[in-house]
Every structure is written in C-alpha cells, then in structure tokens.
C-alpha cells in the first residue's frame, strides 16, 4: 500500500476535521496577517516621512515585500512544537508510535489541510492589501519558477526545525520557552521586522549564517523579484544545505528521544 493512499485517507479525515473548526482556522489566519500588516504600515509611515523611500525601498517595495512575506509565512508555518509537548506529556503520542507510520506524517497532513483551507481567503486579503498600498512587484516568470522549490524547501526547513525543538519535549516537561526563543530569533533573523537589506551589515551576515532567513525571507526576496539568477541559486542551495543539516539532526534527536519517552498518562 502506497504512501499516496495513506496521505489521501489522512487528508480526507483532515478536511472533515477542519470543517468542524472553520471559524477557528479563519481566526488563526487573520492573527497571522496582523503582524506583517502592522510592520508594513510602520515602514510605509517611515518611507512617507523620508520623501517616499528608505534606503532605496519605496512604499510599493515595502508593500510587495510584506504581502509576499505574509504569503510565504502562511505557506511555511508549522505549529507542531506546541502540540507535541502536550502529546508527549499526556501520553497521547503512544497511539501514534504504535502505528506503522512515523508521527511526523500526521503533522504534515495537518499543515497541508490548514494551508489549503485558508489560502483562498488569505489570497483575497493580500490582493486587497496590495492594491491599498500600491505594491510594486518586480517579479519575472523565472522568479516564480525559482520560488516554487524555494518555498517548498523553506516549508520543509521550518517544519523539521520545529520538530527538532518539539522533540526536546522528550526530556523537558515544558517546551514553551524554547518555542518562544526560536520564534523570537526567527522574528529578527527571518526578515519579519524589516527586509534583510535594511539591516546593519553584521546582522545581515548573521542572518545568512543562521537557518531562519531561509525559512521566510529567502523565498520572499525571490518572488518579489529582488534577486539575480545567481543569487537565487545560492539561496536555494543554502536552503537545501540547512534542510539536510536539520534533517540529520532531527533523525538523531528523535531516535534518542523515543528511547527516553516514558509514555506516561497512556
């Protein structure tokens, strides 16, 4: 029996489940939009007060950046670490560990279902934001082509990184602080506060060295059309390298974590 059949069945169940929580999903999505829109409004205000641009970024550039960043964030978001702590501490993981399917797959399906159900509404909102702020996209067709592998790698990287953090729940009872820590790091280094090009050079260097920018900022810059083909290639290579490192790390931590699992509560 193929993984396709398993995924089809899980997706069907996932959509049925999601249908029970339509309003909640919509609220989560709106919650995800608020922050980038606030940053967009702030940068627009700064640009307007400085004659229409900040370090070469016009109001239209900021709008394009934050519209795409919101789109990328929605595509790449993963929230497993929050649920995983609960599953480990309550013993809910046991049922999944006893089935001939890695628990990671359930989270993949949850992600796909959430994203597919919320994207149409998100798309409409982002079109409205683009028109309101006069977003200026410099996107060429090849940018779109390069964006596809880039956003897939970004999603996989963020997902696996989230699982590494989540797996620490095998040893630590409370993982919320670790979650918060890495999300704050992502906040700074992924390009949420500002496009990385506006940051001090040392902060840019740090962002390129750490994995967070490759999770959100990198595909955003590609789809915005702000990169050359060579730079797009380098970015995608960087994403692939970080994904490989994180995957190996995840496999090691998971193997040791499952040994430490005490299956309390169930």
């Amino acid at each position: 029996m193929s993984m396709i059949a398993i995924y089809r069945a899980l997706l069907l169940a996932g959509f049925q489940q999601m249908a029970q929580y339509r309003i909640q999903s919509l609220l989560w999505m709106l919650f995800a939009i608020i922050r980038p829109v606030i940053f967009l409004a702030a940068w627009v205000a700064v640009a307007s007060s400085q004659g229409g641009s900040v370090s070469g970024y016009t109001v239209g550039d900021f709008a394009a950046y934050y519209v795409i960043l919101t789109f990328v964030s929605q595509l790449s978001m993963a929230w497993n670490s929050h649920e995983f702590e609960w599953e480990v501490n309550q013993g809910r993981l046991s049922a999944k560990l006893l089935r001939p399917l890695h628990p990671l797959h359930y989270a993949v399906v949850d992600n796909i279902v959430f994203k597919l159900t919320t994207l149409p509404v998100l798309g409409l909102i982002l079109i409205a934001v683009s028109i309101t702020f006069g977003a200026r996209f410099a996107t060429q067709p090849w940018h779109v082509l390069a964006f596809i592998p880039s956003v897939i790698l970004a999603s996989a990287l963020l997902f696996i990184f989230g699982w590494i953090v989540a797996s620490l729940a095998f040893w630590a009872t409370r993982m919320n602080t670790a979650n918060t820590l890495w999300q704050r790091a992502a906040f700074v280094f992924a390009g949420q506060i500002a496009p990385i090009g506006l940051m001090p050079v040392w902060l840019q260097a740090l962002s390129y060295a750490l994995p967070f920018w490759y999770m959100q900022g990198a595909p955003t810059e590609i789809l915005r059309g702000a990169v050359t083909p060579e730079r797009a290639g380098l970015i995608i290579a960087g994403q692939a390298a970080w994904l490989a490192v994180c995957y190996v790390g995840f496999r090691l931590i998971w193997r040791r974590g499952v040994r430490a699992y005490s299956a309390v509560g169930a």
Binding site: A13, S94, P100
Partner: protein, 341 residues
C-alpha cells in the same frame, strides 16, 4: 505448550524521577542541583506466552503491569533484560511487528475526536495496509460483536465513555493483530458494559486465535477470561500458573462454611478455626489452615453431629487471595518470588 509468541527474560525497567523536596530552601537548591532517583518499575521478570493463550496479568497499582505491557508493545525501552514478541524485539518498533500487535488501553484514543469512527477506520485501513476484503470481513465482525452499527457514523466526541471504548476496541483490532495487550479494558465502565467487553474478548480469542495478555483490577474480568495468571508485585514475579491453583499456592488456608440448625445457631466454633463471618442465624464461615482442613472438617462433622445442617469446604474467593498477596499477608509459597509454570 504451543509455540511461544511472547518470551520475556530478565526484563527490567527503571525510571529516573526528579526528586522534589518541599520548602523554600529546597526549591532554591533545586534550581542549581537537581536530584534524581531511580525508581524500579519492573525488576527482572521472566515468562513465556504460547500462541492463542489468554493470560491475566495481576498486580496492585504500581506493580509494573502497564510498564511491562508498554515494553512488550514497543512503547518503552527496557533498562535491562530482553524480550521477543512474534520473534521481534518490540522496542525496535519494526513496522512489520506493529502490524501484528495491538495495545489497547482504557483511556487511550485511536480515533479522531471530531469525525465519525467510520472515517477513522478508513484511515487505519490505509495505515495498516488492510486489503478491502479483510477490512470488510473484520469490520463486519467487529460491528456485530460489539454492536457498533448505531455508533460508527456519529462523531466520536458525541459518544458516551462505554460507546467510545467499544469503537476504540474496533479501531485497535481492525488490522487483525495476532497479539493483543489489553490494559484495564473495562476501567470506568458500568457492569453490563464490562460483561459485554468480556464476552467480546473471549470471542476475539475464540474466533481469531489471538493471543491476549490482559491486565485488570476487576477479578471478574480475570476469572471470566483467563485460565492462566501472572502475578507481579513491586516489579517481581510472584506467581505464574493456573488461576485455579492460585489460591492453593498463595493462600495457606481454606474456608469452611457451616450452616447450623436452629438449636445450635449460637454455638462457638472458634475451636475449629478462625471465625471470619457469622450471621447469627446459623451460617458461619471459618478460616482453617490448608494442611489441617480435612482433619478439622472431619472433627467438626463428628462433634456437631445432627446440629450441622450443611457444610462446605472451599478455596477462599480469588479477590481475597489477591488482596492478601498484595497486602503482604500471604505466607509460605509466595513469600519469595516464584515462577511455578
């Protein structure tokens, strides 16, 4: 004995537990110097289970029953010893192994809460690679045995505890496991639902030949389902053998039931044994040492003569035996950990 499908040798599990002392000073010290202590849950047990057996696994809370089941189903890594189940090392969790076993626990959920069980069953069908034909036969069988028809199309969260237990059972058994580990399957259920689950487990064993290792605090479950029991206490094996022999092995006494005629209803029978019950209307229960039971009974018959209306000589109720074992009251054979099988 048939082929052993479960083989356990010196299995051990020790949990590392964070020690938390009370008080401000201890709390502050705990920030810098966390103390852990080893808590042994299973202390080196050995047993084998043959294909098709239904074995009761008995012990008080904290005896190590559930920990053992979790090790045998692959959820927990042991800290010592070895076990094979169907030839596999459980904690390696080979998918081929997981497809052939099931661990059903009273409070664990196999099912997606928000959708009908029938939809969860379809997911499990794909995960366990169950063929269409097998799926239909098994599901029909489970629906019939557990009377699930009205339940499987309702969202799981709308089912009562007993109803949910039944659909959980079905979900856990759809893949046709050869070995089923059942941990407290009747916990929290009302008497009629307990009886129904017992009938189901018995039928499951009879129809599919599944090997079943069962823990329960309800002796009725054990008596109804298991001819063989394994008793553990403080992680050590105390008894492994026929349920029928448990009393003889673990309780060094028998119970004499005497019914006296009206005129003798107030007679003092304490010279024949320890009086454990006397209803004042002539029905008396005496506890007598097992070895002396025949002689004391004979003396009682000879001396009371016509005053005796009825007499019985029985093993103590299994609940009493177990209670005495677990409370450390037992003597003789069970004083040292033993495996009698």
């Amino acid at each position: 004995m048939n082929e052993a499908v479960v083989s356990v040798r010196g299995l051990e599990k020790t949990y590392k537990v964070h020690e938390r002392e009370t008080g401000v000073g201890a709390t502050v010290r705990g920030f810098f110097n966390r103390k852990f202590k080893d808590v042994p849950a299973v202390g080196g047990i050995d047993f084998e289970i043959a294909r098709g057996e239904v074995v009761g696994f008995l012990g008080p809370n904290g005896a190590g029953k559930t920990t053992t089941l979790k090790m045998l189903s692959g959820l927990l890594y042991p800290t010592g010893g070895d076990a094979t189940v169907l030839g596999y090392t459980p904690w390696k969790r080979d998918y081929a192994f997981l497809r052939r076993i099931a661990l059903l626990m009273g409070n664990r959920t196999q099912l997606v809460w928000d959708i009908p069980a029938a939809d969860s069953f379809l997911v499990l069908k794909q995960i366990y690679a169950i063929t269409d034909a097998d799926f239909k036969v098994r599901l029909d069988g489970l629906v019939e045995l557990l009377e699930l028809q009205p339940l499987i199309h309702k969202p799981v969260r709308q089912l009562s505890l007993g109803e949910r237990m039944k659909v959980e059972f079905a979900a856990g058994l759809l893949h046709g496991p050869e070995i089923v580990f059942l941990d407290e399957p009747t916990l929290g259920l009302d008497v009629s639902m307990q009886a129904r689950i017992r009938t189901f487990v018995s039928e499951l064993n009879r129809r599919s030949g599944a090997t079943i290792l069962l823990t329960s605090h309800y002796m009725d479950d054990i008596v109804a389902l298991c001819r063989r029991v394994i008793v553990i206490h403080h992680g050590k094996l105390l008894y492994d053998g026929a349920l029928a022999d448990l009393a003889e092995r673990m309780a060094p006494y028998k119970v004499v039931g005497a019914t006296l005629r009206d005129g003798a209803a107030g007679a003092d029978l304490s010279q024949y044994g320890e009086v454990v019950a006397n209803d004042g209307a002539g029905r008396v229960k005496l506890r007598v040492p097992r070895a002396e039971a025949p002689a004391r009974t004979a003396r009682l018959v000879a001396e009371l003569g016509d005053a005796l209306a009825d007499l019985s000589l029985e093993d103590p109720p299994i609940e009493d035996v177990i209670d005495r074992v677990f409370s450390g009251e037992q003597l003789g054979a069970a004083a040292e950990p033993v495996a009698t099988r």
